[in-house]
């Protein structure tokens, strides 16, 4: 008798907990950067503790597959409820109505958006509506291999180093001293053999690398960039300041021989692999690469800001945000998760891991503290790079436009065409996409 009562109670418990489980809402959360997984898992665990009615499932999709997964997911009406957004892809999604407008929710819940950098909020606004808050931000600087500098007897680059598109300036001279052929001669040696380079001064300068690469130099030469304004319909790459920089970029490969042609790093090894293997003395790197840098064990390294150009020093300034799928059946729960992730507590948890600069200015010192006593010593330079930033090109047909730009730039970097012809080729092809 007693046994059967115990059984009954147990059964009742199972039934009750079963129904409680059924009421729990499961949210799917998709992201692309494995380096941030640990930090966000910690934040989401805390969120689930505070919101026992919500279960969050994290889905990692690597960058190369991420956007294909999102678009096919949309076609199948089966998308994560909350996912990371990127400025380069945002415009295509928002213009097609895939993202939830957060403006009414922001107003309803009196969200204080003044804690975020305004320029980050601007990324996510489209035709008067707001589709994201701000998750983080990033700027560009150079990672350099200290051991290779020491071996070549070259002093480490200083924060006030310079470049110019005519003869390259201090920047190119440094790179020349760090580019070595198989006999150990550097690129300034009259007997230097550019066909047998074993170590390059600079890596990762392909056409695809706009954010950390050529676009920054266009700005530093006084150029506007790619489009006249965000969502603009005019290509401005034909400005002389831009053409000059693109030619300079090509010269790095074909005249100074201090960087490999893009194919050598696109096919085969990623620039990052070649940098960590000691084949490149320097690579431009966004601040999001800092966590990846922690796994470098074979040499010591540091960061240095962009070299100063004729028009000063500029960096791309970009940031991510969480977006909500417009068709999610769990709009309210997704909004609660988004509010948490962009809020102060979560950004503090993530900042303590030191993986990305928090979108809340007040938390930047917390992020920098995470680097106390470890490489890179000069991490704060990323914060300085945020002083002057260029305008990110945005367009509803951006994927198609950028596909053309990167192909043509790669042809130029391989040394087949000059910068002027390249820009003319780009103009010819993108015309119909810009209207």
């Amino acid at each position: 008798m007693r046994k059967s009562i115990v059984l009954l109670v147990l059964l009742a418990l199972v039934v009750v907990s079963g129904t409680a489980g059924a009421q729990k809402v499961t949210l799917r959360y998709m992201f692309w950067d494995q380096n941030q997984q640990e930090a966000y898992a910690a934040s989401i665990d805390e969120f689930m503790r505070l919101n026992p009615d919500i279960e969050v499932v994290m889905e990692l999709a690597e960058w190369n597959d991420y956007w294909t997964k999102l678009t096919t997911g949309m076609a199948a009406r089966n998308l994560p409820d909350v996912f990371w957004g990127h400025a380069a892809y945002f415009s295509a999604f928002v213009a097609r109505g895939a993202l939830l407008d957060l403006q009414p929710l922001i107003e309803r819940d009196n969200i204080d958006t003044s804690i975020y950098y305004q320029s980050l909020l601007d990324f996510w606004s489209y035709e008067g509506a707001q589709y994201g808050l701000a998750k983080d931000w990033d700027t560009i600087a150079f990672f350099y291999n200290k051991d290779l500098f020491d071996a070549a007897g070259v002093p480490y680059p200083s924060d006030d180093w310079t470049w110019n598109p005519q003869d390259g300036g201090e920047f190119v001279r440094t790179l020349q001293l760090l580019t070595l052929d198989d006999q150990g001669r550097n690129a300034l040696d009259p007997n230097f053999d550019p066909k047998k380079v074993v170590q390059y001064g600079l890596g990762d300068i392909g056409g695809a690398n706009m954010q950390a690469g050529w676009l920054n130099f266009v700005w530093m030469n006084g150029g506007t960039g790619v489009l006249d304004k965000p969502y603009g319909s005019k290509l401005v790459m034909n400005e002389p300041e831009c053409i000059e920089v693109l030619q300079f970029w090509s010269d790095l490969v074909n005249k100074y021989h201090v960087a490999p042609p893009p194919e050598a790093t696109v096919a085969g090894g990623s620039p990052w692999d070649l940098f960590t293997a000691g084949r490149f003395a320097m690579v431009p790197a966004g601040s999001w690469m800092l966590t990846a840098g922690r796994s470098i064990e074979t040499f010591s390294w540091d960061v240095v800001g962009m070299p100063w150009g004729p028009a000063g020093r500029y960096s791309a300034f970009n940031g991510l945000a969480h977006n909500i799928y417009a068709q999610t059946p769990h709009q309210e729960e997704a909004w609660r998760l988004l509010k948490w992730l962009e809020g102060y507590e979560s950004q503090k948890i993530v900042a303590e891991y030191g993986c990305v600069f928090p979108a809340i200015g007040e938390l930047v010192p917390t992020f920098l503290e995470a680097y106390a006593g470890r490489d890179p010593e000069n991490v704060a330079v990323y914060n300085d790079m945020a002083e002057n930033t260029g305008t990110w090109p945005m367009h509803v047909n951006w994927n198609e436009i950028f596909d053309i730009i990167q192909r043509e730039l790669d042809m130029m970097l391989q040394g087949f065409v000059d910068a002027e012809t390249t820009v003319a080729n780009i103009e010819m092809q993108v015309g119909h996409l810009l209207q």
Binding site: W67, T68, T71, T72, M74, A75, A92, F93, R96, G97, A98, K195, K196, V197, P260, P261, E263, A264, V266, A267, G268, G269, L274, R279, N397, N399, E400, D403, R407, E408, D410, M411, Q414, F416
Partner: protein, 297 residues
């Protein structure tokens, strides 16, 4: 109509039951998607919003699109180089392997391995080998005193470099087919010819070739259809570059659909490829098919 006997009825049911799994797979994974693609080809669909009916405008736009025309030319070039070279090589190797030589099984296996490997993995491995700066091939060229070759870096080289990998990768498949054909040739015919004093070359052209012509023909059709649909290798090795050098048809189709969110145009491209392949196959059946000898006696 005469009624089927009880036995025949049961046999018919059993027959249908046997093909049910296959038929189901064909319907779900082939016929229905094909029908959907045909319909979508007449719409504008960005994968996010509902498709909009646009009639033939996708087809008109494509025919005017210079990149589309270019991708057709690139694909034709791929087929025209790949198919003859691959078939000739495979036939030659199959004939050699059909004789009693040492390590026959080992050699056969070596040819099969690339075929059963994943194309993307094969492609990525070859990008390492081909890498113009740090790759194995160029390292060897420099060691023997030659200049580096921009295998995948130069538009003039990239296509041929990809085709070489494709030929190598699927050689094993064609060798197997040819080997099967060669083993169908009755021993007596060959022996009789030897007794009659026919030379090796005569025996090849008068006996071997006519007797395996059904297999050759089958292989030709399969190869042409398969090569028109080439995707994985250029996708993994060059992404269609440098510039437009290796932007083959299916690569452009994929980009249209999934990168540029123009699924309607991508579907229209799929339908057009279907038509192109259909016409080519029909052409081969008319011109080559009638010369095939199905009489093995």
């Amino acid at each position: 109509m005469a009624r089927m006997s009880q036995k025949r009825k049961r046999e018919a049911i059993a027959g249908y039951l046997f093909i049910t799994p296959n038929l189901f797979g064909f319907l779900v994974f082939q016929l229905i998607p094909i029908a959907v693609a045909i319909v979508l080809g007449f719409t504008e669909w960005d994968l996010i919003n509902e498709p909009i009916w646009v009639g033939f405008s996708n087809y008109r736009n494509l025919l005017k699109d210079p990149v589309f025309q270019l991708s057709v030319r690139k694909t034709l070039y791929f087929v025209l180089v790949n198919v003859p070279v691959q078939s000739a090589l495979a036939l030659l190797i199959a004939i050699l392997l059909n004789r009693s030589i040492r390590f026959k099984n080992l050699i056969r296996t070596l040819f099969i391995v690339p075929w059963v490997s994943m194309a993307v993995a094969v492609g990525l491995t070859w990008t390492w080998i081909y890498n113009s700066q740090f790759g194995l091939l160029n390292e060897i060229l420099v060691k023997v005193g030659l200049d580096k070759i921009p295998w995948l870096a130069h538009p003039d080289w990239a296509m041929i470099s990809v085709i070489v990998v494709n030929i190598w990768q699927f050689l094993g498949f064609h060798i197997i087919i040819f080997l099967a054909g060669l083993q169908m040739i009755p021993r007596e015919v060959e022996e009789a010819a030897i007794v009659d004093g026919a030379s090796t070359l005569t025996r090849f052209f008068r006996i071997t070739l006519p007797l395996i012509s059904p297999v050759l023909f089958y292989d030709l059709i399969v190869n042409v259809i398969g090569t028109f649909q080439i995707f994985d290798l250029p996708y993994a090795m060059t992404g269609g570059g440098p510039g437009q050098a290796t932007r083959v048809y299916n690569l452009y189709l994929y980009q249209k659909g999934f990168q540029f969110l123009r699924m309607g145009e991508a579907s229209a491209m799929a339908v057009m490829l279907f038509i192109i392949i259909g016409i080519t196959t029909a052409f081969f059946f008319r011109v080559v098919g009638r010369r095939v000898n199905y009489d093995l006696t």
